[in-house]
């Protein structure tokens, strides 16, 4: 039976951590049983390169040292791999315990548990759970978008990407070349901010509108990365939360609680209707139409016309 990959990685890690001098590839091949069974030089070399990459993903700092006779040696020095001292009290430990359970994305869930395990090994106080209530609070970070992981890695490594993106109203997706800066999750949806190379400007993308694979480009970033990337403000303006005007509507008494909650002024008309002044931002027309005959738009005329248009489309439908 083939030797499990975890066993192979573990042996390689222990060899590299345990040595005081660089070990050559040949020495490592003789030390790890799975490598002895690897067969050809080619398959060993491929396996060894992949394994080193995997261990580096786990945070292991592996140095490559060339000896006088030109042979390459590898080692993981203790100084560069030791966790700096960290002391956390029981409350802080409980807080991190809660945080480590938040991710629902496999890679980050694994990484968060791994972080907590390293801290445990370093003496992080164990589950005394000082607040019983913690077990009644469950924050979860949802990740349903397939594009998340490749984009997360591209943001981390600052690698340009290309993907097919379907704009809100577009029938067909179009390729976009982007230098990805940051990902942000707002109201359960993920967004990417970055430099759009074709448009020569910053853009925000909604991950659920990316179709197909995210491919990374070998090149480097060409535009400077801003110190602060603001995704939420852009998305909030899409969602119509940055109102710059106000509208006047009539609302049936008892209906439309969320409109009342947003209203800046309410006047009872006494005939089964109230008059409300509400913030008027992008998308208000579509929202008002949802309330059907319980809402009548009074001002401005432009909003009233948009609502009437929409209602006519439905009435004809």
């Amino acid at each position: 039976m083939a030797i499990a990959k975890a066993e192979r990685l573990m042996n390689l890690a222990l060899c590299l951590l345990g040595t005081r001098r660089p070990l050559s590839k040949r020495e490592l091949r003789e030390s790890v049983e799975a490598y002895l069974e690897a067969g050809s030089d080619d398959s060993f070399n491929r396996m060894f390169e992949r394994d080193k990459d995997d261990l580096r993903e786990l945070g292991l700092v592996i140095e490559t040292v060339e000896s006088l006779d030109g042979e390459i040696g590898y080692l993981a020095r203790r100084d560069s791999n030791r966790l700096p001292p960290i002391t956390l009290d029981a409350e802080e430990a409980a807080a991190l315990g809660l945080a480590a359970k938040v991710w629902q994305q496999a890679r980050l869930a694994g990484a968060a548990s791994g972080a907590l395990q390293k801290l445990r090994a370093a003496g992080l106080p164990e589950d005394v759970d000082p607040y019983e209530a913690h077990s009644a609070l469950e924050p979860r970070i949802p990740v349903h978008e397939a594009a998340f992981e490749p984009l997360m890695l591209a943001c981390r490594d600052r690698r340009p990407v290309v993907f097919e993106y379907r704009k809100a109203n577009a029938a067909q997706p179009e390729p976009r070349h982007v230098e990805p800066w940051a990902l942000e999750c707002w109201r359960g949806h993920w967004y990417l901010a970055g430099f759009d190379r074709d448009r020569g400007a910053e853009r925000v993308f909604r991950l659920s509108r990316i179709t197909g694979k995210v491919r990374s480009r070998g090149s480097r970033f060409t535009a400077p990365v801003p110190d602060v990337v603001t995704v939420r403000e852009t998305v909030a303006s899409w969602a119509g939360e940055t109102a710059d005007r106000s509208a006047l509507i009539r609302l049936r008494t008892g209906a439309g609680y969320p409109l009342r909650a947003k209203a800046t002024g309410v006047r009872e008309l006494g005939d089964g209707w109230d008059e409300l002044e509400i913030p008027y931002g992008h998308g208000l027309d579509a929202w008002l139409v949802e309330f059907g005959p319980d809402v009548v738009v009074l001002e401005p005329a432009e909003l009233r016309a948009d609502v009437v248009d929409r209602l006519r489309a439905v009435a004809k439908g």
Partner: protein
């Protein structure tokens, strides 16, 4: 506690865990399987599978010192801890992904409005310490961020009611019916997934319900004790909306401008249409609640079935239009293209279905 964290079995995660495990076990001869599994946040079976692998590992270039670790199922013994040099068993520094995963999550939770101040302070202190300890590896964590939305005042009251085991009275807005109703609820847990919800036993409907905090119009903590029946907590990783197989089917056809429906409504199928639109099939316990959707879609889509739902949307639109007959018709641009839409997008209260179990809006 419900909602088992996502924990795939893969070689990377297992290796990571075993490296920490050897450090941990070295300090604790005779550690109990149960305790170690809890400390590592894994099942006892997962731990035992690690303990099966460890005896195959070692630094064999030194002459075959495999780790002599075994367990009788209750305690774990390591007979040759010297097989690993003292410094080979030191705790390892955090990898970039590890630091990112932990820090982004901790920062997100710390921003939850309504969180107890002592909890927030503990999170912030822990975050600062982890940042320092992770050093450069913490750098990339600024490239991911998450905001949880919550109504701070409501959150704090629910949190208090849960810890004091008291019943709550709420006035709650249900978008499906556009009405505010009064209920008494026994809160079970607070769940944040973008928005924050309280899962509770609803005394009015005698059933489990999920309430979104920003739809709670008013809240009071009652003196009565909370007594929710023992209910099995659902795993919410698949989302809060879990339509039942017996729920009636609704078919919606949307044009390119209505494709967002597929992003917001859990559905059984979404088939491409030749014009760039979609034919979406979904299920809901109360199709009438989708009248809002039909109205919002306007010319971007229509309800195909059930016919009664399509009719009620048309009827509502006609009634609404009648009210405008009385107002001067100036400005009504018959047939003109609406210019306001970079895509119809549900506003804050929009696009929700029946009662409280249908949570799907922004």
């Amino acid at each position: 506690m419900a909602g088992k964290p996502v924990r795939p079995v893969n070689a990377i995660d297992q290796t990571r865990r075993m490296l920490s495990l050897v450090t941990y076990l070295r300090e604790r001869p005779g550690a109990r399987v149960e305790d170690v599994a809890r400390a590592f946040g894994i099942t006892e079976d997962e731990l035992v599978s690690d303990l099966d692998v460890l005896p195959m590992c070692g630094t064999s270039f030194r002459g075959g010192d495999l780790l002599d670790i075994d367990t009788d199922g209750e305690r774990i013994w390591w007979h040759n801890p010297a097989a690993l040099g003292a410094d080979a068993a030191e705790p390892l520094r955090l990898a970039a992904d590890e630091a990112t995963a932990l820090l982004v999550a901790a920062r997100a939770v710390a921003t939850l409005p309504g969180l107890r101040e002592s909890d927030r302070q503990a999170l912030l202190r822990a975050t600062a310490k982890v940042e320092t300890s992770a050093g450069e590896a913490a750098g990339a964590s600024s490239r991911l961020s998450v905001t949880f939305e919550s109504e701070g005042g409501v959150f704090a009251d629910v949190d208090r009611a849960i810890s004091e085991r008291r019943r709550l009275w709420i006035r709650y807005y249900s978008p499906a019916r556009d009405e505010v109703t009064e209920r008494e609820i026994d809160p079970i847990r607070l769940v944040s997934v973008g928005h924050t919800y309280v899962e509770a036993w609803c005394r009015r409907s005698e059933a489990r319900r999920t309430f979104r905090l920003d739809r709670v119009a008013e809240i009071r903590i009652l003196d009565e004790p909370s007594a929710p029946p023992e209910v099995e907590l659902r795993d919410l990783s698949e989302g809060l909306v879990q339509p039942a197989a017996e729920d009636p089917e609704v078919v919606v056809e949307v044009g390119p401008g209505g494709r967002w429906v597929a992003e917001y409504y859990p559905h059984d199928s979404a088939d491409e249409l030749p014009d760039g639109g979609l034919r979406i099939t979904l299920r809901t316990p109360d199709p009438a609640s989708l009248r809002r959707l039909a109205l919002r879609l306007g010319r971007d889509g229509r309800i195909v079935s059930p016919a009664a739902l399509a009719d009620s949307a048309r009827q509502a639109a006609r009634e609404a239009l009648a009210a405008y007959d009385g107002i001067e018709a100036a400005g009504a641009r018959d047939g003109a293209e609406s210019v306001s839409g970079a895509g119809a997008r549900p506003g804050t209260g929009a696009a929700d279905g029946q009662h409280d179990r249908q949570e799907r809006a922004l």
